[in-house]
Every structure is written in C-alpha cells, then in structure tokens.
C-alpha cells in the first residue's frame, strides 16, 4: 500500500504508482476490426432509422454501419463527420444508452442494441489516425467570424464556417482548446489526449485561428467583437456552479466537482491529485458520477453520492449509475445536504436531511443523518454567468435563441450549454454549433 492510502483528510498519492494507469485506462477499449465487423452485421439497416432520429446530430447511422460492414471505414467516417465533426468524441462520451442505442430496434427485439457508439469510434479512429480530411474549403468569402468558446459548440461552428470559406477566430479563456471535452469529461472516457488530437483534426481544415487565454468580458466585449467581425458565435458554456445552500459550505474540503475533474484531466501525474479518504458527492447528474468514480479510482476509500430525489429522477443514465456502483461508489437517494460539519475549518462530515415527495413537491422530513467525510464535491448543476452576455435576451438565466441559434442581437448567434435548451451534452452542442454556422452562412450570403 502506498503511504497515504489510510491517511485521513485530503491527500495525493493514495495508490501504488503503477495502479493509476490501470484505473484510468480506456473505459471501452476500441473494437478490433473483427469485433467491428461482427457488430456491424447486427444492424438491420432500418428505414428512417430510429437511432438516426434519436441522434441530436442526425448521423446516418445505418449507412455508416453498412459502410463498416462492407469494409469501408473511411466512407463510414465521412458519413459521420459530415453531420458531426466531433464524431470521435461523441462516440466516446455520448450517453448512447439514452440516445441512439436506446432507440435501436434490437433493443426492443432482444434488449441488446447494436453498439453504435463503439462502431462510430471504430470508423472515426481509423480516419483520424490516418489524418484523413474529408472536407475542403469553399472559395474564400472574405468574411470573418468570431467564435467565443473552443468547446464542442464552438469547434463545430468554426469547422462548418471554415468549410463554407469563411475565416474564423476562436477565442477561449482557458489555456487549452476543447472546452468540456478537455476539462470536463471523465478521463477514462477520453484517454491518450484525444480531446487535444480532435481539436487539431477539426482545425486542420484551415481558416480557423485559435486565441487562448482570451475571456469574454475581460479581454474583449461583445460589442468589440460585433464591431470587428462580420458575425459572432457564442459557445461559452456555463461558468458558474450552483451553491449547496448548506451551512458551512465554505469550509476547506468543499469543492466544485467540475474543478476537481478539470484538475484531474490536466494533471501530468495523477498521483499528484489530492482526494479525500471519505468523499461525498452531492448531485445526480453526469458530473456527479464522473467526479465520484474518478475520486474512487484515485484511491478514496468511501465514496457516496447523495441525491435529493429518487433514482428515476437522476440525470445520470442507468449505465452511468451502474458504472459508479461497479467501481464501489454508493449512491443514496432522497438526501439533501443541510450542514457541513467542520473541525478546525476542515470538513469532517456532512449532515443531510431525508426528503420525499409530498403532493409532488420535494419536502424535507425534518429527520437528518450524518456521513463522516473529509471532502465534499458539489455537482448540483452549473449556471450561466450573464455578465458576459451583455445586451442579450435571457430566459431562465440562459441565452435565448431561435431555431437557428440566433440571439436577440442581429449578427450574434449562440449554442451549447449557454443557451436555453442546451442540455449538457456534447452532441447537442455540436448540433447547435453546426446549425448556427449554416445560419450565419445564409445571413452573410444574403448580406453580400
């Protein structure tokens, strides 16, 4: 056992050095050619396929699987990328069990959908490893567009604009491009620097310049951009994190789950990432699962996810819940945090209240319980920071757009998590970015 395995408090190096690589290996190792061909043979090539309709980017799934089955993975990759240039990442991180694979008719037929995500990864990996580019840029239009945010929405938008012949400058506040793909997804879903490689693949088409360390509202304003560019796309995600509204949440040891995940994703050496011995994660979504599982894999001894509602209401899919359970994470429902217990300013426990639905309303029962812990992660949702969207109409705290991604200001589009209808999915962000690019292109063509 490593030195700090039984150390109370928050400490790095809880595992043997050799164990980190095994714990953070690829969650779904890629399909070998034989596996891909066997799996591809299972596809029925449905008419008006339910899987395709379930895909936010409407990838022609039966077609790309047929292309794989006929040993044409490059054709398959082109089919995928023509709808979703981040098809490689989506193949890894999409909750396919609630999208395409849930809709697969084989799910209804035998409870075993075609492994669409894995097949998509097979084809896109082959093309990306070969450096094969499927798109060429149209004649230069002379138009320049600013994209704010180099996450999935921004990259998808930038790529489609570049294809159309426009010049794109992508700004991002962080030191690396990729957005949540780089900073916010569990590491075992996207190993070997894939997020970085994907950014390179997307920008290889040309016409896309990326400016890092540039934050909207600090480095420039929306008005600046609108004045300097022919159009602006905002894919700025959600900058804020919801508060627990529990007493003592400022204590040392209470942390935003997204920060923890980002630190972990950026760590050169995972043994440097500190984690508690007993950890509680508050929340019921993918971020909660990603934080909990990774904390467990870093060597936390006890890991409990507490969610204030029931299993059915959890945003994390069944697959994600099962994954957490398989890694030794305990998921508890109907518990809402009330008080962070501290000793010397440090977390020593969390007091939670039992909850239930009374007349359809979530209601505290007045009874509490305490979980001893030395670290608490908050994963109860993120919020849009409206100060960066000066002058844009908001609804429910997010940017309002129409069906094409147009905001209330002419010449400014938005997509991804920052808009109303953004649903915390990479694939949805890609669809919105791509569709906004088409709208921008139409707008610029009409203007010239």
């Amino acid at each position: 056992m490593a030195g700090s395995a039984f150390k109370d408090g928050i400490a790095p190096g809880r595992l043997e050095p050799t164990q980190y690589a095994a714990n953070f290996a690829d969650l779904h190792p890629p399909l070998a050619r034989h596996e891909a061909l066997v799996e591809a043979d299972r596809c029925y090539f449905c008419y008006d396929a339910p899987c395709m309709n379930a895909c936010p980017t409407s990838i022609d799934i039966p077609m790309f699987i047929r292309q794989i089955a006929t040993d044409n993975p490059m054709g398959a990759a082109e089919t995928i990328f023509s709808q979703n240039i981040l098809g490689g990442m989506c193949a890894r991180v999409c909750p396919t069990e609630t999208l395409c694979e849930e809709a697969c008719v084989r799910e209804e037929a035998e409870g075993k959908p075609v492994k669409i995500g894995q097949l998509q990864r097979y084809a896109t990996d082959i093309a990306m490893e070969a450096g094969r580019q499927f798109f060429t840029r149209a004649e230069p239009t002379g138009k320049r567009i600013a994209v704010v945010g180099a996450g999935p929405a921004g990259l998808a938008c930038a790529h489609r604009l570049a294809v159309k012949g426009h010049e794109v400058v992508v700004y991002d506040a962080r030191p690396k491009a990729g957005g949540l793909n780089e900073y916010g997804i569990a590491s075992y879903k996207t190993v070997d620097g894939f997020a970085r490689a994907e950014v390179d693949y997307v920008t290889a088409i040309g016409g896309i310049a990326i400016e890092l360390g540039q934050r909207l509202g600090e480095s420039f304003s929306l008005d600046d951009l609108r004045a300097r560019y022919d159009a602006v796309f905002l894919g700025i995600g959600l900058g804020g994190v919801n508060a627990l509204k529990a007493e003592g949440e400022d204590a040392e040891g209470v942390r935003d789950a997204v920060d923890f995940i980002a630190e972990l994703r950026q760590a050169d050496d995972l043994s440097d990432v500190a984690v508690g011995r007993r950890v509680v994660v508050i929340g019921g979504g993918m971020t909660a699962i990603d934080a909990a599982v990774q904390a467990k894999l870093l060597g936390a001894e006890d890991l409990t996810i507490c969610y204030r509602r029931g299993k059915q209401e959890m945003n994390a899919s069944q697959f994600e819940q099962d994954l957490a359970a398989s890694k030794g994470v305990t998921i508890r429902h109907w518990l809402s945090p009330r008080r962070v217990l501290t000793q010397g300013g440090k977390v020593v426990g969390l007091e939670l209240e039992y909850m239930q639905l009374v007349d359809g309303r979530l209601t505290g029962l007045g009874h509490t319980m305490t979980i001893p812990c030395d670290q608490v992660f908050k994963a109860i949702g993120q919020t849009f920071e409206p100060r960066s969207a000066e002058g844009l109409a908001l609804v429910g705290g997010r940017i309002e757009t129409d069906g094409q991604g147009r905001t209330s200001r002419e010449g400014i589009w938005a997509g991804g998590d920052c808009i109303v209808g953004g649903d915390d999915l990479t694939v949805t962000a890609v669809a919105q970015g791509r569709d906004a690019a088409e709208s921008i292109h139409r707008f610029l063509a009409a203007a010239s």
């Binding site: 029925y44 008719v105 084989r106």
Partner: protein, 439 residues
C-alpha cells in the same frame, strides 16, 4: 422414437444422412471418423482409372461467399477427383466396409467415356464389397476439360451409354450423379433411367466464380494470378437443388426413380425438405466441411423428433409427400387471395417491410399512425406478394393470411371465390380452355 433406417436401391443405412463424394470421404481416416460421428453412409470420393494419380493445384482450392457474421453460405472448389493411388483407395474401401458393415458405402467413379475404361474399373470396385457405385457425371471443373464429369452429364446420350455399360458389367446398384449445369435436368435423368440406372443423385456443383480479387484482378480462388470456374455448393445452392429434384420426382418419365438429394443440406429441416420432394437419402458435404462431422447428431435428432411429432414411424411415411404439390404455374389457384398481417406485439419497428414495399413493390405498408412510427398493411393495396415477410428480421412477425371465400378482396373489390380456378381457364388467357384439375 422414429426409425430413420433407409433402404435405398437395396442399400441399407441406419439413417438417411450420407456424406457426398468429396474431400471428407477421400480416405479411410476421414470416413471412419464420419461413421463414428454417426453418418449413415458415405459416397467415397471419386476414383479414377489406374495409372499415375491425378494432380491437384497446390494453391487455394476453395472460394466462398458469406452472410452476416461471416456465416459460410456458398463454397466452391477446383479440387479434382481423388489424387491418391487407385489401389490404396480400393484397399481402404474394403477395410472400412468390413469394419462398418451396417453403414452404406458407395463408391464414386469417373473414368474416360470409353467402354473399356468402365469395364476395367467396375470389378475392382465390386471386389471391395462396396454397396454400390455413383457415376460422377457432374464435376464441372478440370476433369470436364478432359471429357469427363459434367462433359458427360451434359450429353444425355453419353449418360445413357455409360449407365448401360455399368449395368452390364456390375451387379452393384448404380446411382447416376447429375450435373446442374444444363438447361433441363429431366433430360439427363430420363437418359440415366433409359440406361437402366437404379437411382439418380443431384445436384453436383454449379459453375461458379465466388469473387474477384480487386487488388490482383484475379478470380477467387486464384492460383498465381489466374483463376478458373469452380463447382459451387453449400446453403446458397439449396433452392436450385430442390427445384431440380422436384422436376425429376414429378416428371412422368422418371416418376418413382429413386433420388439421393444433394445441395446445401445443412440441417435436419433441409434434409426433410429434400426427402419430402422425393429423396430417399440425402448427401451432405459443405455443412460437414464447415462445422465438422458432429452436425449429423443435430440432423438425426432433429429429423427424428419432427417425425415423432408428425407421427411418422419411418422415412417412407413422408418421402415424396410434397411431390404432388409441385405443379406448373398455370395450375396455381388464382382465386386464392392472401394479405400480409403484421403482428404488432412482435414488430420491432425496423421499417424494412415498409421501405421494401414502398420502394420496390406495391406501396401497401403505411409507416405511421397517429403521428407515431407504426407499420401496418393496407389491404386495399396488398397483392399478397410475401416480400415483407421475407425481409422482416423477426420470425413470424409478418404472416400471409388467406382471405376467406365470401369476403371481399379490398384491392380488387371482388368477392373471393371458394372455387379453384387457374390460368388455363382464366378469361384473360387467349388460350383458355375448360377447367381441368391440376396434375
């Protein structure tokens, strides 16, 4: 338990499953393994005349096509008849027959189309104690270029002539194996019968190129950059074989002639179908070459259980029972009307029935109901063609349901008649005549 024993042209075997003359029956080693596994009989791989042994290619002999999951559907080969010395084969045949007296052991023969050649080899084979001979008039590759195999089988006069020689020079039962590489299988069958054959076996393999290598632009299997047609067999040829067997079984001239059915038999069900069309025994090769000899267990138990279920005590109770139901198109009942029915509980909503019907047939399957994905047959458009049944991935999900006489066919608006009426009496037929029953 049903009795699977067969008596075929005087040859008894404990079950109707014989291995066809092919690589699996080239040596005592293989044949004994087959008998241990439970095969009822074998047709020993074709012997040629005395002399320097036949030479085979030293590169690939087989090509194939596959279905989903690389299931082998069709196999072709360019292997010739046995390339082992005649005397060695004869010695082994004799030993095996002595050791396995209850199994059928038939010897396939192919020698030049000359009386002396046949006259010379027949006593040698007879001396082994083999139960019978099969005349290889079928192999379409290699030997046919030398005037043997299908080169004989394609000329009915030669077939009759050689059969006559064989009947003259041996007491053994003669089974004439026919090539499918002809236009009318009844012609060589009639010729074989005229020559006095005891039975026919069919089909031999079909001329085929299984694939073209798109790197070398050579047919598969290719030998040093060149290829030649091979003989095609396996599940893919079964429908062709069934049809040819039925043609001989129902031809008035060959009616009652014993048939050993061959062609893609893979399961007990395939075997039962060949037998229902008049085959007294069946011969298997590709299935054994794909899965090994053990498959005969599935075949024997499957056939036996089916016979028990149907109340058939022995194979004679059902051999040939389907022959009377094979007829000419002109005698099919045009007053028989069916409509496709989709079982909504079984439907998985893949939509293949819809798109097949919509794109390529009669636009008779709607794709939604109340705004939801839902596949349903429109009786006023459905011609009852069965395409949807065939493309549906779920067993029994779509079935063809007859429209009862007295009801209206919504497509034609006509009341379905209970009377049998075929093309020969149809008003649209300029050659129409008075009604007569089907043959």
């Amino acid at each position: 338990m049903a009795d699977l024993t067969t008596h075929f042209v005087g040859i008894k075997s404990p079950n109707p499953f014989w291995l066809a003359s092919a690589p699996p029956t080239d040596k005592a080693y293989n044949v004994e393994r087959a008998f241990k596994a439970g095969w009822g009989g074998v047709v020993w791989k074709t012997l040629g005349e005395e002399g320097p042994p036949v030479v085979n290619v030293n590169g690939p002999r087989y090509g194939a096509i596959w279905g989903a999951d690389r299931r082998l559907l069709g196999l072709n080969n360019i292997e010739l008849i046995t390339d082992r010395a005649l005397q060695q084969n004869l010695r082994e045949i004799k030993e095996v027959k002595m050791k396995w007296p209850d199994r059928a052991l038939v010897v396939s023969i192919m020698v030049p189309c000359e009386e002396e050649s046949w006259k010379a080899i027949l006593p040698l084979v007879e001396e082994t104690g083999a139960d019978g001979i099969e005349l290889n008039f079928g192999c379409p590759h290699g030997m046919s270029e030398r005037g043997m195999g299908s080169a004989v089988g394609q000329v009915p006069e030669y077939v009759e002539m050689v059969v006559r020689w064989c009947k003259q020079y041996t007491r053994m039962p003669v089974i004439t194996k026919l090539t499918p590489n002809i236009t009318d299988i009844r012609k060589p069958a009639r010729a074989a019968k005229a020559g006095g054959t005891d039975a026919v076996s069919l089909i031999n393999t079909i001329n085929s190129i299984t694939a073209v290598n798109l790197d070398t632009f050579a047919p598969e299997p290719s030998i040093d950059g060149k290829g030649t047609h091979g003989g095609y067999c396996g599940p893919a040829v079964k429908p062709i074989a069934l049809s040819m067997v039925s043609e001989i079984a129902r031809d008035p001239e060959t009616f009652g002639l014993p048939i050993s059915g061959i062609g893609g038999i893979t399961t007990w069900r395939d075997a039962a179908e060949f037998m229902a069309l008049g085959s007294g025994t069946v011969q298997v090769c590709t299935a054994a070459m794909t899965y090994g000899f053990k498959i005969v267990e599935e075949m024997a138990t499957g056939l036996s259980n089916w016979m028990d279920e149907k109340g058939y005590a022995g194979v004679d109770d059902f051999v040939g029972r389907a022959v009377r139901n094979v007829t000419d198109w002109q005698y099919l009942n045009l007053n028989y009307v069916t409509k496709a029915r989709i079982d909504q509980d079984l439907c998985i909503k893949c939509g293949r029935c819809h798109i097949a019907c919509e794109d390529t047939s009669h636009q008779a399957i709607r794709k939604e109901k109340d705004g939801k994905r839902f596949f349903e047959v429109m009786d006023d458009e459905c011609v009852g063609c069965n395409l949807c049944v065939n493309v549906c991935p779920v067993d029994d999900c779509i079935t063809m349901v007859p429209v009862a006489p007295g009801l209206v066919d919504e497509r034609t608006g006509r009341v379905v008649s209970a009377d049998y009426a075929n093309w020969t009496t149809h008003p649209n037929n300029p050659m129409a005549k008075a009604a007569e029953p089907a043959e």
